[in-house]
């Protein structure tokens, strides 16, 4: 297996201060994401999921944009296939993250490959936040610390936040309180990192225009799938 990072020296143990800094940044991110999970729980329940369904989704799917996307289509009255399609397309980026993280995370501090069982567990945590925290650490040991601390802190806060948000959503009048606006606001808040390049901005604009233009003519949720044509801006460098 080709591993881009195998050429990097397996550097000396990082300073304790560096490790503390990484742990603290990872835990802080976990808390911030827990707050996002609150809004997911609220939004999922307002879209028609039960508290239990919102929690199972967060535990086993564990990738926020896909979860929001599936619930958004469900809430709009789309079919399960349409809801699945958009969410699955968004999850394709986790595959790309997996490629990038494998070399950094699937070995231990002595350079030995983790057991298959451990790698299969680690795979569940291959998401936006762990990828960002891991790939910004150049020291391989700190990168692994960042991955695992971010993974565990997010997994805990994401599931707790979902539960609390869903419980709150199930006792409140979601329509009067404007909870339906939680969906577009959440997607908008996730968008900026993807707009840094010109291609990203064109893809986003195309996706939005195609989606609204097609909505009257195709089953609910299908316009989201067609909007993925925006990625064709990536064909040319």
């Amino acid at each position: 297996m080709i591993d881009d990072d195998s050429a990097q020296p397996e550097s000396t143990a990082p300073e304790a201060a560096d490790r503390r800094r990484v742990v603290s940044a990872s835990v802080t991110l976990g808390v911030a994401v827990g707050v996002t999970a609150l809004s997911f729980g609220l939004a999922a329940v307002s879209a028609g999921a039960s508290v239990w369904q919102a929690c199972v989704l967060s535990f086993f799917t564990f990738t926020g944009a896909s979860q929001f996307s599936a619930m958004s289509v469900v809430g709009a009255g789309g079919s399960a296939v349409a809801a699945f399609g958009g969410a699955a397309l968004l999850a394709v980026r986790n595959f790309v993250y997996g490629l990038a993280l494998a070399g950094r995370v699937s070995v231990d501090d002595d350079g030995r490959r983790l057991s298959l069982g451990r790698r299969l567990i680690a795979a569940h945590f291959v998401i936006d936040e762990t990828t960002a925290m891991t790939t910004t650490q150049l020291n391989p040991r700190l990168a692994r610390t960042a991955f695992w601390v971010t993974a565990l802190s997010l997994f805990i806060t994401w599931n707790l936040g979902t539960l609390v948000g869903a419980l709150a959503g199930s006792v409140l009048d979601t329509q009067a309180l404007g909870f339906d606006a939680a969906f577009p606001a959440a997607f908008l808040a996730m968008l900026p990192p993807h707009l840094r390049t010109r291609q990203g901005r064109f893809a986003a604009l195309t996706g939005a225009v195609v989606c609204v233009a097609l909505t009257p003519f195709v089953p609910v949720g299908v316009a989201i799938l067609v909007a993925v044509v925006g990625v064709l801006f990536g064909v040319r460098p």
Partner: protein, 104 residues
Amino acid sequence: MSNTTLWWLIAVLSITAYGLKAFGFVLAGGRRMPAVVERCLALIPAALLAALVAKDTFTVAQDVVVDARLAGVVVAGAAVWRRAPFIAVVALAMAATAVVRAVA
């Protein structure tokens, strides 16, 4: 959507999401894809998230509408622009929508 269908959706989506993560991390890890494929895959979130914003702002089922949600999204856009934290973006959008609904 029936409760049973929603459970099926949750199950199939969970298996798919895990499969994609594990496929990249455990099986294909470290390999590179053709540059054109990488560039296109990297644009999926931009296209889909923007489409989802548009759908959840301007559509109800198959109808294109302008309603109180637009106020929420405009406020959310301003909050994102000012780099407000995620929860503030969502809370402001909900509040603006609720206010417009209460007034209208």
